[in-house]
């Protein structure tokens, strides 16, 4: 249960509405939002906050030293650092195709970590 009204900046879009949220049982009463995504975000943020995670993994024989990857969907916010530990264990080998799965079912979240670019082998 939330004791008081809390203030929350909506991050669903760049407008960034400053919202006031009050909980009444299972219901959230949201004010200050400009659109319907506000209450959706507020409820998610206060019950099970999630974020997408964008980072890189090491790549062998790649055109660059790092390959950018991201979680295909958002993962629980509390798992971000654990996820980084998992992702940092990985070394992939070039070539890689964009959206190629790098880690399947990251930390049992059901979310895959995928490459966000294609990368050829290092030009010799």
């Amino acid at each position: 249960m939330l004791e008081n009204k809390i203030e929350l900046v909506c991050i669903a879009c760049p407008v960034g509405c400053l919202m006031e949220v009050e909980q009444n049982g299972d219901e959230f009463i949201v004010t200050g939002n400009a659109c319907k995504r506000g209450p959706e975000y507020a409820k998610a943020e206060l019950t099970h906050p999630t974020r997408s995670l964008c980072t890189t993994v090491a790549i062998k024989n790649g055109f660059l030293n790092r390959l950018p990857v991201f979680t295909e969907e958002e993962i629980p916010k509390g798992l971000i650092f654990k996820a980084m530990d998992e992702i940092n264990k990985v070394v992939v080998e070039a070539p890689v195709k964009v959206r190629q799965v790098i880690i399947e079912n990251l930390l049992d979240t059901g979310v895959n970590v995928v490459a966000t670019r294609s990368m050829d082998k290092k030009h010799s």
Partner: protein, 420 residues
């Protein structure tokens, strides 16, 4: 000397989108010239997502956004060269280049599109006093080191400037195991998006110090500490408010400047406010047949707007090459009024606007519940309600040929109170 119909200087998102649009509009002989080792521009190091919401309706990372355009350009057989520096573009559209393998070459083009992007302001540009140790980086340099080259700039980090790059790098450093002690911002508000303040700073308990700056850098070989102080309303440090932060790394995210050395040499007139070329409705500069688009014209905050603007440049370069553009007729100038820092384009040859013209502009302060107004003389041509306006968020106004028909001489863009 080799000939091309169109030469595009810069293979970032602006250059790629412009070249693709020119090709779609019937220009076959195109060359994109890129100085980096691959095309895609700075997007290649922007590994966070959020790109492409307008154009692709999904949140892509920078590299994936770039890849879609690179693949499209490849599938259309658009030529590009990398590792090639443009040394000079003449008003006659002779392009001088140098490349480590092919040496010095010149190309003759019928039209040129300038798409060189922008670069970061450095420590020198903002005159921070103190020593000159290693460990002071621009945020973008640190981003490239971390995300592409694979090494960390440091372990304990302070960031000056709360633009989006500074915010994104604060989170990135924390994720990679560094400690970020704070972000200082000279202005009383952040230049970054609110969502980035939440996702990049608040999520990781990184303090944002508004109305603060760095007054001294200490450390002989490696950065040892930065001294941060509050500033007054004239941005002068307030004595007695100094605080020390022991850090080995300082990232500077203190603004971007369009990179226009080539434009200057080509005799293109620059707008002192944007540091980019004055352009007309077709994204054509003051030199006939030389167009410009993207961050070289004015710094954008969303790449989708760069793409949109660059398509306009590509389309009009194609029309120019095919002799399909109006060169005479009614001209309207776009000027700034209260609250508006700049507006792009600055000149409109009305006959060249077929369906609509998107005007880009920035406001000079944070405003709520105001109207963006476009007037010509005493005639109000458009008046658009805006709940929230901020310098960090570029505004657009769409003008139709019917709007332009009402304009005489000039259009003035300004902010007015809602009930005015």
């Amino acid at each position: 000397m080799q000939n091309y119909d169109l030469i595009v200087v810069g293979g970032g998102p602006a250059g790629l989108a412009a070249a693709i649009e020119a090709k779609k509009n019937g220009v076959d002989s195109i060359l994109i010239i890129e100085r980096d080792r691959e095309v895609g521009g700075i997007l290649q190091q922007c590994i966070h997502n959020g790109f492409g919401l307008h154009i692709f309706k999904e949140q892509l990372t920078g590299p994936e956004y770039a890849e879609r355009f690179i693949e499209e350009a490849k599938s259309m057989n658009i030529n590009y060269v990398v590792d090639t520096m443009v040394l000079d573009v003449t008003p006659e559209k002779v392009v001088h280049v140098i490349n480590p393998k092919t040496g010095y070459q010149t190309f003759q083009a019928k039209a040129v599109i300038m798409a060189m992007g922008c670069r970061e302001r450095t420590r020198g540009a903002i005159n921070i006093p103190g020593y000159r140790p290693s460990g002071v980086y621009s945020a973008g340099t640190a981003q490239r080191y971390t995300n592409m080259e694979g090494f960390m700039p440091g372990k304990k980090v302070f960031i000056l400037g709360s633009g989006d790059i500074g915010l994104i790098m604060a989170r990135r450093m924390v994720l990679e195991g560094a400690e970020v002690l704070g972000v200082a911002e000279l202005m009383p508000f952040s230049g970054g998006l609110k969502r980035n303040i939440v996702q990049c700073l608040d999520d990781y308990n990184i303090p944002l110090l508004l109305s603060h700056t760095i007054v001294k850098i200490e450390g002989k070989d490696r950065l040892e500490k930065v001294i941060v102080a509050q500033v007054d309303e004239n941005f002068r440090p307030v004595p007695g408010t100094e605080k020390e932060y022991e850090v080995d790394t300082l990232l500077l995210s203190v603004g971007l400047i369009p990179e226009n050395e080539l434009s200057k040499k080509a005799g293109i007139k620059l707008n002192p406010v944007t540091s980019g070329p004055f352009v007309n409705e077709s994204m054509e500069t003051s030199v006939e047949g030389i167009f410009a688009c993207g961050n070289v014209v004015h710094v954008h905050d969303l790449v989708d707007f760069v793409t949109q603007e660059s398509r306009r440049a590509g389309l009009n370069a194609a029309k120019y090459i095919k002799n399909e553009k109006a060169t005479e007729g009614k001209v309207v100038e776009a000027n700034t009024g209260f609250g508006i820092t700049y507006v792009v384009p600055s000149k409109i040859l009305v006959d060249n606007v077929k369906d609509e013209l998107v005007m880009f502009m920035r406001v000079n302060n944070v405003y709520s519940n105001m109207r963006l107004e476009v007037k010509s003389g005493d005639t109000v041509i458009k008046s658009i309600k805006r709940r929230h306006l901020a310098p960090g968020e570029m505004e657009q106004v769409k003008l139709k040929p019917s709007d332009l028909a009402k304009a005489e001489g000039e259009l003035v863009f300004s902010i007015v109170g809602e009930d005015a």
